[in-house]
């Protein structure tokens, strides 16, 4: 009987996907401002740019880079899922699409990128 309830809870994965898309979207927006601001330092010369980039060389920002990778992957894969749904494709498979595609495939890509980043950037 608990299986029935789990199935019911599982049905609300669309809301989970929506929240993930919103939260990662806002995080990427914050990153975008930071990115543009850093690149803008080029206009002030190489020294200013080097100084701006050096801010991000400590391990804390390397960890944030790993988090950024996760946000980009989740946002991109879930965006593909939403596009497919809007096109009327895989509509009755939206839950599986979220868990298998956005989370499952996303986790594989994330680990493939995050492990080397952690080993060679954070622990170096």
């Amino acid at each position: 009987m608990n299986d029935l309830l789990r199935k019911y809870r599982w049905q609300f994965s669309g809301m989970v996907a929506h929240l993930i898309q919103r939260i990662t979207g806002l995080l990427l927006l914050v990153y975008l401002f930071l990115h543009v601001r850093t690149v803008h330092a080029l206009a002030e010369g190489p020294a200013a740019f080097d100084h701006a980039v050096s801010t991000f060389s400590n391990p804390f920002f390397k960890l944030l880079e790993i988090a950024l990778l996760g946000a980009v992957i989740l946002h991109a894969l879930n965006g593909v899922r939403i596009t497919l749904l809007d096109l009327g494709l895989a509509h009755n498979r939206q839950r599986q699409l979220f868990w298998a595609w956005s989370i499952g495939v996303g986790a594989v890509i994330f680990l493939a990128g995050a492990i080397p980043m952690f080993l060679f950037a954070v622990l170096k």
Partner: protein
């Protein structure tokens, strides 16, 4: 028999009751048991008791459901939290007013606008949409909708589903007017962000998000 702690969000605050139930009993049975044995002042609404009328819709453990169709055992919790449906004004205790729901319903002009009254007796066969006719206007999709919670003008899934049925009815003559209402930037189908909450919560299993997505595509065609 199992013992449950029932927390009811009443107009006066949260009231807690302890109730013993058999495994086959529903949340509606819980409410009747409380009303008969512990607190006769508890207000709730029900009519058919078999999931046909939608009257006993309420928030059960934070999910809008029909009390008569929800077995306490399946909640997998010894605590049952009951509250009035979200997104609707509370009249008293677990009783809400469906007036805002039907105000949106009216906007899509729900009645069939057929050219000839002789046509009315024949319901066209359309297996593609027949399941969507099962709506009992319980308001659960309206309460579950995350968009409805923040956009009071949004039509809501049930009204959109009704419009969809009319648009797909070959007898109906005011498709353009219905589509105009549905195409509204703030209250129409474009407000839907495919959260699938309405589909997940609908006690009749209607794929309301599918309805909305199909209407979006119709409007773009």
């Amino acid at each position: 028999m199992r013992t449950y702690q029932v927390k009811v969000t009443r107009s006066t605050g949260i009231a807690t009751y302890t109730v013993e139930l058999e495994d086959r009993m529903t949340v509606l049975d819980v409410l009747f048991r409380i009303q008969w044995n512990q607190d006769s002042s508890l207000n709730f609404r029900c009519a058919c008791r078999v999931g046909m009328c939608g009257t006993c819709a309420m928030s059960i453990n934070r999910v809008p459901r029909l009390a008569c169709k929800t077995r306490a055992l399946l909640l997998d919790s010894s605590v049952i939290a009951l509250a009035p449906l979200p997104n609707l004004p509370v009249i008293k205790d677990l009783v809400v007013s469906l007036e805002p729901f039907f105000e949106q319903w009216k906007k899509i002009r729900p009645s069939l606008n057929a050219a000839d009254s002789a046509q009315l007796a024949v319901i066209p066969e359309d297996p593609d949409v027949s399941r969507k006719r099962d709506c009992i206007t319980c308001g659960i999709c309206y309460a579950a909708c995350g968009i409805k919670a923040t956009h009071k003008d949004y039509l809501g899934p049930a009204a959109i589903n009704k419009a969809f049925l009319r648009i797909h009815d070959p007898r109906d003559r005011i498709t353009k007017e219905r589509l105009r209402v549905l195409n509204d930037e703030w209250s129409g189908v474009w407000r839907c962000h495919t959260q699938f909450n309405c589909t997940a919560a609908c006690p009749k299993g209607i794929d309301l998000t599918d309805t909305i997505v199909r209407l979006k595509r119709s409007l773009l065609a």
